[in-house]
């Protein structure tokens, strides 16, 4: 791992009496794909709320390139759980949303995203509304909206959680190809063990609430990755770890 771009040290967060994150410490290097893998309700989305500034941590430090995160300047492009496409905007206008917020004119923003539609498998759907797209295409549109913001790092919150198994597998392969090509520094949170193994350079395994890191797993497999014995072995190891860690069921 090269010098850390993002580093979280001892992050804790509680909602009233509910301690959601214990003592969370992670690091993500430049160009690295890192996953946080944890059961539902373990506080994964909360981590992203802290990073995007929607919430403040109770304790701990959040550093980017060695400096504390500034509230008015966040170096992240965030992709929420579910696609969060706006029904009332055409796909092209959904994908330019971030540029629009940055103050880039509509025409200039459209010119910037238009060439990317083909690579994202959305060519010809620029003028469609989200309701006219399949689940997989909606996720690709949401990812396009995320990467086109040209931020230093991607935050992906269970991007494929709502898709059927086949589409999900297809999208995972596609994302891996895209990532290999572009080398985005990425932090993914997911509860899908295979997804984490297929996509990540490193995986942090999060315990059930209060979430803390119980293991850090490197995935030294070559890319492109396909499901097979090597992936299955790592997957089994992580599952054992998660299931053997004592949890209070909710």
């Amino acid at each position: 791992m090269s010098a850390a771009r993002l580093e979280l040290r001892g992050i804790a967060k509680a909602f009233g009496d509910l301690q959601v994150l214990g003592e969370l410490s992670i690091a993500v290097g430049k160009g690295e794909f890192v996953s946080i893998l944890g059961p539902s309700g373990s506080g994964k989305s909360t981590i992203f709320k802290l990073l995007t500034g929607a919430l403040l941590p109770d304790a701990g430090a959040m550093l980017f390139d060695g400096a504390p995160l500034q509230p008015d300047h966040r170096p992240f492009a965030f992709m929420p759980q579910r696609d969060a496409l706006m029904d009332w905007r055409r796909i092209i206008d959904n994908t330019t949303l971030g540029l629009e917020v940055q103050g880039i004119g509509r025409m200039a923003a459209r010119r910037r995203v238009a060439p990317l539609f083909a690579e994202f498998g959305l060519a010809g759907f620029e003028q469609h509304y989200p309701a006219q797209l399949s689940g997989g295409m909606r996720q690709r549109a949401a990812l396009l909206r995320t990467v086109v913001q040209d931020k230093d790092m991607l935050l992906l919150d269970e991007p494929f959680g709502a898709l059927d198994a086949l589409t999900r597998a297809d999208m995972q392969r596609w994302l891996e190809t895209m990532w290999s090509r572009h080398g985005w520094t990425s932090l993914l949170v997911t509860h899908d063990v295979r997804e984490a193994v297929l996509l990540s350079d490193r995986i942090y395994v999060l315990s059930a609430r209060p979430g803390r890191i119980i293991a850090e797993v490197a995935v030294p497999l070559s890319r492109p990755r396909r499901t097979g014995a090597a992936v299955a072995a790592i997957e089994a190891g992580i599952l054992d770890l998660l299931l053997s860690t004592p949890t209070q069921r909710t």
Binding site: K49, T52, G53, A54, D72, H73, R74, F76, A77, F78, P80, Q81, R82, A84, M86, D87, W88, L97, G98, E100, V101, Q102, F125, Q127, H128, Y129, P130, A131, Q132, L133, S134, M137, Q149
Partner: protein, 266 residues
């Protein structure tokens, strides 16, 4: 493009949607006609619809002269209430404590009986257009305000968090996410209020006016002309339907994505 259909096909679907309504309304009129013809009730008590239509046609000029002021009062009053509801909804959305301060006042305004308020407003503001506009605005303001507030609240958390994560300040989040999210609620409120608006205008005129459907109805009643009362009622019903149609049309124009079916998914 999936949403441009040939005119003929559109007309055909429009007709297939309309014929149940035409049948039910036509059926009611037939029943009414038969009852008025064969029950022996004198037409000065219950005129048949054929008589109402014939007399309405005969007095069409007077009816039209009295419909125009009603339309004016309805549209102006409604425009006032929608503008006011929008301004207050934005204020309340940005300054949440205002909600608790203002909502009770607005709720009380809704409990005022029209029968007591209308003559008072006419007494204070005269027989002109002003009191009508005020009364129309009074009856339609609250449903519009509630519709807008509910609409803002319906914004998906994810969308708001997304726009915020892009660095948008509060007012941009409002414009980009909350306001468009409220559109379906806004139009639902519009459809409900527009029907109150016509009734409100007629009631205001009834309480005192130089011209208008309300005063026309009052005069016709005093002259023992139930046929003309009912003719004016038919005009007001038609007016309401037309205004309702306008709101539906506006909604279709401003929310084209609602007309999409899922069948175009690749």
């Amino acid at each position: 493009m999936p949403f441009i259909r040939p005119v003929a096909a559109r007309a055909a679907t429009a007709f297939s949607r309309l014929w149940p309504a035409v049948l039910s309304v036509g059926g009611l009129f037939l029943l009414w006609e038969a009852y008025a013809q064969f029950s022996g009730i004198p037409p000065t008590t219950l005129p048949a619809p054929s008589r109402v239509l014939a007399q309405g046609a005969l007095h069409s000029q007077a009816l039209w002269d009295n419909t125009l002021p009603t339309i004016t009062a309805t549209v102006l009053g409604f425009a006032c209430s929608v503008s006011a509801a929008f301004v207050f909804s934005v204020l309340i959305d940005f300054f949440r404590p205002l909600r608790r301060a203002l909502l009770p006042v607005f709720v009380i305004s809704q409990t005022l009986p029209m029968i007591a308020i209308a003559p008072l407003v006419v007494l204070w503001f005269g027989f002109g257009l002003t009191p009508k506009i005020m009364l129309v605005a009074l009856v339609t303001f609250f449903p519009m305000l509630i519709a807008l507030l509910q609409g803002y609240a319906s914004t998906a958390d994810e969308i708001e968090q997304l726009v915020a994560s892009m660095g948008a300040p509060r007012w941009r989040i409002f414009l980009i996410a909350r306001l468009p999210s409220a559109l379906p609620f806004f139009f639902a409120g519009l459809r409900i209020s527009i029907t109150y608006a016509v009734v409100g205008a007629i009631f205001a005129e009834y309480a005192g006016a130089a011209k208008g459907l309300g005063i026309y109805i009052l005069n016709a009643k005093n002259n023992f002309r139930p046929d003309l009362v009912l003719a004016a009622v038919m005009v007001s019903a038609t007016l309401t339907l037309l205004l309702f149609g306008v709101t539906v049309l506006l909604q279709r124009l401003s929310m084209p994505w609602l007309r999409l079916s899922g069948s175009h998914k690749p």
